[in-house]
Amino acid sequence: MAERAFVRTEILPEESPPISEVGIWGWMRVHLFSGPVNGTLTVVTALALGVGAVFLASWILVPTWQADSLSACREILREIRPGHASGACWGVIRDRGIQLLFGFYPPELYWRPILALGLLALALAPVLFWEYMPSRLLWGSALYPFVMPWLLWGGSTWLPLGALAGFVIGASAYRVVSRASGSLFGLIAGALAALLWWGLLMTPVAAALAGLADIGLEPVRSRNFGGFMLSLTIGVVAIGFSLPVGIVLALGRQSDLILVKSLCIGFIEFIRGVPLITLLFVASTLLNIFMPPGTDFDIILRVMIMATLFASAYMAEVMRGGLAALPRGQYEGAASLGLDYWQAQRLVIMPQALKISIPGIVNRFIALFKDTTLVSIIGLLDPLGLTVSIRANQEWNGIVWELYGFIALLFFTVCFGMSKYSMYLERKLRTDHQ
């Protein structure tokens, strides 16, 4: 009988993997020390980061909050750190931080921009997180465009109500006429009624109502607007309007109507071909020349118009990409269901095209919000515009890092938040196999 080799008859219990392969050690071996080159790189980078962090901490953690000038800061620093007097001078933030946020808005009225910002969050919530909110709240969001200017600029309550009434009048005219003689005439009648109200009747009616009951908020002049609040105001308005205008432009560019198409292409390519700053020059010096003699409307409004036009041209290009990415079959499928052009757009094309374009749209929002800083060049006092006067001031002459760091942090927070939201949305909207 041949000698039989050892044969195991039962399965051994699973061994846990070696300590160097799992857990923190395994992770580090794979991701940080996979070879001599990588290991060295890791160590050198970590050391540099460590030194940088220590330096940064020692720079940030200094008791200079109460200082009221740069020289006072240096005095404090010299006292606590004889020899090398490097450290932040936080006094400038205490002294001018509020100004960087609100500009020259009257301090006793700060609650109004803050409330407007809070309401913005409330109005945006049903849009941004529509899955968790009842869709009826969207009607509340629709009120926001009327509330915001009233809160920020103040003035009679009757004006925003009058503007709102225009939409109500238009909608009721549409409903009445369209029942009688078709939706097209209804649309025309509604638009005409609303335009008539806004153009001719609204101002006298609002004035008469104000005579009866003068309720309103204390008006604030545009030149008092400034700081981060101004950036947010311009950014929010331009973002809000550029999306619908951009969609219309993109549809126009896709249209079979050759005239509409060429007008849209001309507009989009012109706007995209020139820098924003030239458009802002137009807003600051030329827009009044284009208007009937004697017109002089608000500089912030002019900037908002130009920023909206600028952003909508880019938005149109983003939307065009989304529309082009849709397979032809979607259009044909919608047509075969008997949907007309607008129904097809609303129910089939746009939901998909918008979904595809979300990253691009949010990128344009971020770019637009960053571009609001350009208004400082035409003399508006956004945070960057304010730094000029702060740095020219005798007390803070020579200050750099704290001031710009503070502003950069403000912008970074908003822009980074937007980009994170876009990633979240992309993940949520992905309907292909996951």
Binding site: V30, H31, L32, S34, N38, L41, T42, T45, A46, L49, L184, D256, L257, I258, L259, V260, L263, F270, R272, G273, V274, P275, L276, I277, T278, F281, V282, T285, L286, N288, I289, F290, M291, P292, P293, I366, K370, D371, T372, T373, L374, S376, I377, L384, T387, R391, G398, V400, W401, Y404, I407, A408, F411, F412, C415, F416, S419
Partner: protein, 422 residues
């Protein structure tokens, strides 16, 4: 095709204009056209009326009046006695200069960061991600003014280079002086210069081109052409015999010798900047505004380019690498012959858009006082002559032309690189 002879066309009714799809598009276009024309007429009418009220009319004659202001950073010669047109030209060249510098910096840094962000080393990848997020989530104008402020506040004054124990020293064998008034770099000079070629007379368009430079470029171009021939011949021999002849000695001789001989002949030497009086003299002076602008635009745009490069590399599926390896290609060749050509097809179109947006962003030069075309034509010229309409229209036209040229290059590229499908 059968015809219907009995049925005559129903008479045309007005409502067909709205409800008949054959006519509706015509109606819509007619209305659009009418509205558009009305808008244009209204705007032009308003403008003319406003201009008439102000007692002026559209007139581009101001371009040929004396400018009367100094431009301290320039590529072509210019004096305050020159015309506004010449000033705008100087500005345009300055715009292009900073755009090119910015694009080069952005491409180099962006490519590096984009590749490093894909590194297997977690720490490096995270660091690069942080770099990208920080630079692209903060406005470019903030970067420009911030870098300008940092450079002017923290760099030494020219005075600091003075004395026996100076607080600051020049870099690169006393060749480069970095001061808060700008950086001074050595200037290449020729002692046996061939002189200048004077083009376009002595008017606003005059242009001096150094013959030395022309000769150098010509010789270099010829050398490169000859080297290309040598390489071609080597490939031919390799294809025929299977062994590649050694080409590098011939290449070295062809590429280096003629240029070196010409340089020697022309008496090439560099003139290092030197501290005299209150400032540095000689050498080339790059103002802090130019450096800050190019640096800020380069760093800002590099964050976007990094993302483009990363996306381009990720877009090439791993199967391509494996397939190339299974053909027996070595890693270097896999990158050069398989991955890069495909990745570049994805990378280059958005890269060119980034160049375009960087070029448009150079208009922010006005914030740091760099005299680009926005600073000359849209800044001092506009304020001095009061010709806002004409200046801004011209300014927009210039940028539009630059943009259209860049777009044309991009379209050309796209057409050539398009995948050929069945």
């Amino acid at each position: 095709m059968s015809s219907t002879p009995d049925e005559s066309d129903p008479p045309f009714r007005l409502s067909q204009l709205l409800y008949d799809t054959r006519y509706r598009s015509l109606t819509i276009q007619a209305i659009t056209f009418g509205l558009f024309v009305a808008l244009v007429v209204w705007l032009v009418h308003n403008t003319l009326q406003n201009l008439a009220n102000a007692g002026s009319e559209v007139d581009f004659g101001f371009l040929f009046q004396t400018a009367g202001y100094e431009i301290n950073q320039r590529l072509i010669d210019y004096t305050p006695e020159d015309t506004h047109f010449r000033a705008a030209l100087v500005g345009l060249l300055n715009t292009l200069l900073v755009a090119v510098l910015g694009c080069v910096a952005a491409t180099i840094i962006g490519t590096l960061v984009g590749i490093l962000r894909l590194s297997k080393n977690w720490l490096i990848a995270q660091l690069m991600a942080a770099y990208v997020e920080i630079f692209r989530n903060v406005p470019v104008l903030l970067w420009i003014v911030f870098i300008m402020a940092v450079l002017t506040e923290s760099l030494p004054t020219p005075n600091a280079f003075r004395g026996d124990d100076p607080a600051a020293t020049m870099l690169l064998f006393d060749g480069v002086a970095v001061t808060n008034r700008g950086t001074y770099i050595p200037e290449p000079l020729f002692s046996n210069s061939l002189g200048n070629l004077h083009l376009f007379g002595s008017g606003s368009l005059r242009m001096d081109i150094s013959l030395d430079l022309l000769a150098l470029v010509a010789v270099l171009a010829l050398s490169v052409f000859a080297a290309g021939k040598v390489a071609l011949r080597a490939v031919k021999i390799q294809n025929a015999t299977g062994t590649r002849p050694r080409t590098w000695p011939a290449m070295l001789v062809i590429l280096v010798l003629p240029t070196a001989a010409l340089l020697l002949l022309l008496g090439f030497h560099v003139d290092a900047p030197e501290l005299r009086g209150f400032n540095f003299r000689d050498g080339i002076h790059m103002r802090t505004s130019l450096i800050a602008l190019a640096m800020a635009l380069g760093l800002y745009t590099s964050a976007f380019i990094a993302e483009i490069v990363r996306g381009g590399i990720l877009a090439i599926s791993h199967g391509q690498t494996e397939a190339a390896a299974s053909l027996g290609l070595r890693p270097g060749k896999i990158m050069r012959l398989v991955i890069l050509p495909q990745a570049l097809r994805v990378i280059i179109p958005p890269l060119i858009s980034e160049y375009l947006s960087l070029t448009k962003n150079t208009s922010l030069a006005i914030a740091v006082g760099y005299m680009d075309i926005t600073g000359t034509l849209g800044g001092i010229t506009m304020n001095q002559t009061g010709r806002a309409l004409e200046s801004i229209l011209l300014l927009m036209l210039v940028y539009l032309v630059i943009s259209l040229i860049i777009s044309a290059v991009m379209n050309l590229f796209n057409a050539r690189m398009k995948l050929v499908e069945h």
